[in-house]
Assembly symmetry: C2
Homo-oligomer: 350 residues x 2
């Protein structure tokens, strides 16, 4: 078929120079035909160049373009854990939006390690990405926090745009999620359908997102008339297994009249559900469970999980739009959340 005459052995990719020669035009003309702002080059030449490029299977070297132009088409995305549905949904949103803008996204995982996060930001900066999106909060008072802030600030000073998703440690553009208000609303609704005595499973010390959700939940309870004793707030890893462990702790200490356990996110809640079951109890009946996020799988667990819906993929899309200066994205305010009552919290006959 279309052989380039280069033979079948190893070779180097065709360069713009090759294309120009093949088309019998200058480098500049080739460049303009292939990329330069439209309508500047004779259509005759243009066609010749296009044909030559196709014949040579030319693919523009993005790195070279970046160097010459002084700007890239890259978006860097930092998440805690790619396999976590919360983050993978966000990532899917970022990638989808980036694709529309013909941007390429590079992805890295911090594995919830603040030092690692800082390290990654430094590395990723080398790419000179147009945008840097960070999702997943870190402990509020981590020693490296200042350094991260400096690093991000420096990045912005050099023309980059950083966007945070649901974290409020710094003063950068942020896709704000109604964590507090959402949890508050959830608490009220739960009290409304008859629950009174609550427990909470939350993330590690100082995790902002978790803290906000717990605070909101507490506020809602206070307003509506539910009770949450301090000894019924257990800390655990912000993961499925953390949720499992947290629930097991609660159960081992006798449950103590607790009617409903609120886990600060869905993956934890799902783990909690399994812990209930493994303890020989019936989730929803013996103890109700609620989560936060509405990740895809919560529809398929049994009982289906009551949660606060967060449009995860939209978070990712919004983050990128915000970075790109889309006015509508910034004027939309916080991302709305919505309480979704399901079978894991059946109405209680008070």
């Amino acid at each position: 078929m279309t052989e380039t005459g280069i033979g079948t052995g190893r070779s180097t990719p065709a360069t713009l120079h090759d294309v120009a020669r093949e088309a019998g035009v200058s480098l500049a003309t080739a460049s303009r035909s292939l990329n330069g702002s439209t309508r500047k080059v004779n259509d005759e030449y243009r066609q010749r160049v296009l044909a030559a490029a196709a014949r040579l299977d030319y693919s523009p070297n993005l790195s070279a373009q970046a160097v010459a132009r002084g700007t890239t088409t890259t978006v860097a995305l930092l998440v805690a854990d790619i396999a976590d549905p919360y983050f993978s949904s966000i990532a899917a949103g970022v990638v989808a939006e980036a694709d529309q803008e013909r941007l390429i996204v590079t992805m890295a995982a911090t594995e919830r390690d603040p030092e690692r996060e800082l390290e990654l930001v430094r590395t990723l900066r080398g790419q000179r990405p147009r945008v840097m999106i960070l999702a997943g909060s870190r402990p509020t008072s981590d020693p490296t926090e200042g350094a991260l802030g400096e690093e991000l600030a420096a990045y912005e000073r050099s023309g980059g745009r950083v966007v945070l998703i649901s974290r409020n440690e710094f003063d950068f553009r942020t896709v704000i999620v109604e964590n507090t208000a959402g949890a508050d609303a959830l608490a009220r609704e739960l009290v409304g359908i008859g629950y009174r005595r609550f427990a909470v499973i939350t993330g590690g010390e100082g995790l902002r997102t978790a803290a906000d959700r717990v605070d909101g939940f507490r506020a809602g309870l206070a307003a509506a008339g539910g009770t949450l004793d301090d000894e019924h707030v257990v800390r655990a890893a912000f993961t499925r297994d953390g949720g499992y462990d947290g629930m097991r702790q609660l159960i081992e200490s006798g449950l103590d009249g607790i009617e409903l356990v609120f886990a600060a996110n869905d993956v934890m809640a799902v783990g909690a559900l399994s812990a209930v079951r493994d303890a020989g109890l019936v989730p929803g009946t013996d103890v109700a469970v609620a989560g936060f996020d509405d990740i895809p799988t919560v529809r398929d667990v049994t009982p289906a999980l009551t949660t606060v819906r967060v449009p995860l993929e939209e978070l990712g899309r919004r983050a990128l739009r915000l970075a790109l200066g889309d006015e509508s994205a910034s004027s939309e305010g916080a991302v709305r959340t919505e309480v979704v009552l399901r079978a894991s919290t059946p109405a209680r006959i008070a």
Copy 2:
């Protein structure tokens, strides 16, 4: 704090040139101190350069390095859907391994569209990635298949390495998963615990992975003595909703004595489980369900899902190692799978 003296306004990132000047050495020396193969530069100078770099908050421009070196540190990863746990687990593996090798991974989603996949491969080639990993099979006889093959071949000719994960359309390095053998083993075990009449929910026409699994399942059944009528093989989208729909179809046509439904992957199986429940039946009791992959969530659904375990994250890691020429990765052969019997397929008293 450490101000660079550049002021607070917008500025351009410090260049190696700046660092050299600041340190009072030549460009070459600066380059060598910061990157060049170790032990070549006077430690005195080296320190000066390092200090200057820190002071200027220097970050090497990866694009420029790529152009100068003629090689990048990029890995391109192509998956069907980032939010799908199957792919996000694989991605997590690729990213983890890449990180160890100090490689950066760029990610894109084909959304199961062959044309889109081809388009993405073309775009990604512009990055001159060292490696290109494609996961998620496409229909066996898609019109663009030839073009994709050509494109990938051209990429390899120019020095790149392509690795396929669990797809066997082409003749590139591949991380082979025991799809057929795994399903075969599953079928035998299922017959072994008393099941006889089966149904299957599989993916769209010609999806290789799905086809292999179904073939294997059929073979196992044939060998062990189970029955699978052709009208009990239903096709659906290779997604959670596809699984749901497939199961609903089966139920609507009366189930017809079917004791167990095998879904070609776990996300479908999970959807199927929900369909059973929504139809007012009890999964595991009224009809058993089994899947394939062992994605994280199947432990948390009820009943827990019987499946064939595939080390998803390891798939991703292996793919990268294979691309990088790791001998052990290529000599390990196909990735082993393992049948995991759980509550969704309780033993039947024959």
